[in-house]
Symmetry: C2
Subunit: 124 residues, 2 copies
DNA sequence: CCAGAATTCAACCTGTTGGTTGAATTTTAC
DNA sequence: GTAAAATTCAACCAACAGGTTGAATTCTGG
């Protein structure tokens, strides 16, 4: 019964994406490399807070850091999104299909049930 | 400059998915309605812990609860996955395209630079 | 050399996750 | 009516998220 080994990378990616500030950071970074200070400017929070968000994005490997002297240039590395998108799409399809199958089965059973009320419960 | 209103629903959906136990719960639920106890059995944690995960999944509207006497029947409602999948897919495409464009631009600039090192100011 | 800029580090606070155990609640079954 | 089943509620705990402020670090430029 395969323990379905769910990758911890997916945890980190989804967790990183589950915050509007971090999504906004990624969005800004899609326009190119940017320093921490520049990146932080539009947000209504301290530089330190943004720095922490960046650290979390790095941990999820959605952002890469390149030091150039005293400034740290951040850039977007969207690869982890592939896995996340794939996981969600795949499971959405699988689950929807299963639920549809169940629904069809229930409807069929119901039709049969009204004719031969045996099996379980019958009408309610 | 549209404040890009990031929906809090997305936060909850992604947060809910960012945990292996909760993903496993959803997976089991794709096989049909199940009681809390039955759902909790395979997990190496207390019933209460699973109950809390379920509550979080309900908050994200990924799971619906139907009370039938003393038992609560949980079922999967995969709709919120649509929004999550759409958001990720859309941004992945947009961001990748932007990064590609940036890259192409940099390469072109580089080629131009090595051939005709004039542009402005001339020699250095 | 030295002031200042760009960052992080460290400590702290508050709220939430993720887990526990034990008691309450509601419903079924004898 | 009462025991037991299926759940949650309540209190607690450790860890972490998300934020703050203040001090340290590391570079740059006059």
């Amino acid at each position: 019964m395969a323990t379905q080994a769910t990758p911890p990378d997916l945890d980190q990616t989804l967790m990183a994406l589950a915050d509007p500030t971090r999504r906004a950071i990624l969005h800004r970074l899609s326009e190119g490399e940017m320093r921490v200070t520049a990146l932080a400017r539009p947000f209504a929070m301290s530089l330190n807070a943004v720095s922490k968000h960046i650290r979390m994005l790095e941990r999820a490997r959605l952002v890469r850091r390149r030091r150039a002297g005293r400034e740290h240039l951040l850039s977007l590395t969207p690869e982890p999104l592939d896995a996340a998108a794939a996981w969600i799409a795949e499971h959405r399809a699988l689950w929807t299909a299963r639920l549809d199958a169940l629904d069809a089965m229930l409807k069929a059973e119901d039709r049969a049930g009204t004719k031969t009320p045996e099996k379980k419960g019958g009408a309610r």
